[in-house]
């Protein structure tokens, strides 16, 4: 079998199925390269446009310049961590309306509280369970259209 590169995949999705204006834009703020690759590819397959930032500072800047529909924010980030970045986003008039879902590797309830306190709209733990995350995303920004769900979305 042959795996397309990420840009080929995106291009194919754009050409065959979408006008770019119809796509929901997700900003993924994640410092781990493999997590970025994995999650962005899986979200693109489902019809989302994915923008990438590699630290909290860049995440805040890109949220301001790109106005994404939703932000997936890793919490342990270099330069500026996810909590600080979320507080910055939620205190700026241009970005405070953008929903933020916190992603952390800790599964403790105090972590959830800390994320919500920083202004995150929702919270999910790593390793990501994609169907669960997609559900949370849809709760915040609505469905993308069911034809793009893969058939076997079991966990």
């Amino acid at each position: 079998m042959r795996f397309g590169t990420r840009s080929e995949t995106v291009e194919r999705l754009h050409c065959q199925r979408y006008l770019p204006d119809d796509m929901k834009k997700i900003l993924l703020v994640e410092d781990n390269e493999m997590n970025r690759d994995m999650l962005s590819r899986r979200l693109q397959k489902r019809g989302y446009e994915v923008l990438i930032a590699v630290d909290g500072q860049q995440g805040v800047e890109m949220a301001q310049s790109q106005s994404p529909d939703l932000i997936l924010m890793d919490m342990s980030l270099p330069v500026m961590d996810g909590w600080e970045a979320t507080r910055a986003l939620k205190s700026a008039t241009t970005t405070k309306h953008i929903p933020v879902i916190a992603l952390t590797a800790h599964a403790m309830s105090t972590d959830r509280d800390k994320a919500i306190e920083a202004g995150c709209n929702d919270y999910d733990t790593k390793p990501i369970e994609l169907p669960r995350l997609l559900e949370k995303m849809e709760m915040l920004i609505g469905p993308i259209g069911n034809d793009f769900r893969t058939e076997n979305e079991s966990s």
């Binding site: 795996f3 997590n35 994995m38 590797a105 800790h106 390793p127 990501i128």
Partner: protein
């Protein structure tokens, strides 16, 4: 680990470096995420005969996450 007497379980927890359980979740996430991505790619490209093998990797990974969450919640 649930069969172990409590003191032993506590001793093991005490022996583990503080961030080890947290750190283990990252590579485990890669194994799971790429296994799931591979399954999606195989479904899309019609290579379904390999899916049961990858499914075994995915299930083992999920089991490991479950065990870590149930028995060794990071402090």
């Amino acid at each position: 680990m649930s069969e172990l007497p409590k003191p032993i379980e506590e001793r093991i927890q005490h022996m583990l470096p503080r961030n080890l359980l947290h750190d283990l979740r990252t590579p485990l996430g890669h194994i799971l995420g790429y296994a799931e991505l591979l399954i999606e790619e195989m479904q899309a490209s019609g290579h379904e005969e390999f899916i049961p093998h990858v499914e075994k990797i995915r299930k083992a990974g999920r089991k490991l996450v479950e065990m870590m969450t149930d028995n060794f919640q990071s402090k």
